[in-house]
Subunit: 245 residues, 2 copies
């Protein structure tokens, strides 16, 4: 099932794709779903970031640059950086290289505290594409991931949430710049599974419906320049496309 | 002027203290203020965290433990940690020492991008007390300030916003545990001014009305135990009181 958040004359609206139309729903987190009766044709749909998270968590797997006793570490990205599909990424000027990072994003479906490997996936609403844009040269002075990760539209999310991913550890991730595949990898190259990421994060912080966990970039960081068109393509989910401005 | 957010039978309500009563207002960020006509007696007021920030920024002044070329660094604290005055701080168990940190909190009043030392204070709605509760022993493995700063009710805020602070660089900060003053300092002991903190943060991230910047702990970190009553007392602002559970 695909859950999107689309524009309508009455404002943003969650919707489910059925038979080529996006059928409007009242609440993407409630079950059973309640349909409003309104619908938007697929060809007319303009997609927004599919959720408005209160918290965006990034996962640092600490394989290369760090020397921690723990395999996973987390950090927080400002919700002010959230961007819709097709929104222009405003690359910071004069602050070094800007990287895009294609990642599998987990959208939390239920309040999640102290999850286990066994029950973690049950707390996920679904999966979407995220582009974790980064001022990568700031890393040297920014161990807390603030200035390296802050910028206007630095977290494009979407285009929709796919709920039916049997194994989130097997999702292919392509980063495509101006139509050319620049990185080809997948969640299978992450050192920690989606379940392990959620176990770690929720051992410290309770997550709420709509929160987003960016599971990390498995070799999917690519330097970009203003004018580039960047697509993050996740197998079985969809393609998130943004321009760098 | 003091702006609070208080409980009413109809839900949370912003209010202004006038002649011993909290007069309800429509929007604490709008000028001129619009009064609803309703009022709550000071003696009956139950205070909530005075704003619901989308982003909580912490300031790390990097004087002691780090060796950065930059004098100020920032980090983000989860909004899920926000707590009301008198809410119990749930100290993490088995995760080392829990510190409280008494700090001056800045509440942003207007959209703030690339502020200067000259115009920074104009973008502030006012000031309140914050208790930046910390799992301090996690710092060794948590350079991104995630697991050290995450916990239930780890960010008590309040009890109200004071708008009339002529010089935020001269605010005294006392940390009082079980009625005994354990730390006595003030914003004058911070290595960077409030203006400099906002210049740094907004050079990277646009802040919005209601966002909160915790300006750092000038020697105001105190270890606590379950059962302790902790008061953060800021001169000219007020006293934020919470129990450790």
């Amino acid at each position: 099932m695909r859950i999107a958040r689309i524009t309508t004359p009455e404002g943003p609206q969650h919707a489910i794709l059925r038979d080529g139309s996006w059928d409007h729903i009242a609440d993407p987190f409630a079950r059973p779903l309640t349909y409003t009766g309104a619908s938007t044709a697929d060809a007319d749909a303009v997609f927004l970031a599919p959720v408005r998270p209160a918290v965006i968590v990034g996962i640092a797997h600490n394989l290369t640059n760090n020397n921690h006793p723990l395999p996973i570490q987390a950090w927080l990205k400002s919700v002010h950086t959230l961007a819709d599909p097709d929104a222009p990424i405003l690359a910071a000027r004069g602050r070094g290289t800007v990287n895009v990072e294609g990642e599998l994003a987990v959208v939390i479906g239920k309040t999640s505290t102290a999850l286990t490997v066994e029950n973690a996936l049950e707390h996920i609403l679904g999966y979407t594409c995220v582009n974790d844009v980064t001022n990568v040269d700031q890393g040297a002075v920014d161990e807390r991931n603030f200035q390296g990760k802050a910028g206007v539209n630095y977290t494009p999310l979407g285009p929709w949430i796919e709920t039916d991913i049997p194994n989130p550890g097997l999702v292919g991730i392509d980063v495509i710049v101006n139509g050319e595949v620049k990185a080809k990898s997948g969640s299978f190259n992450l050192p920690s599974s989606v379940e392990e990421c959620l176990v770690y994060v929720t051992s410290w912080l309770t997550l709420e419906p709509g929160d987003v966990v960016m599971t990390g970039a498995p070799g999917t960081a690519v330097a970009v320049e203003p004018g580039d068109r960047v697509d993050i393509d996740l197998g079985g989910i969809g393609r998130l496309s943004n321009r760098v401005a």
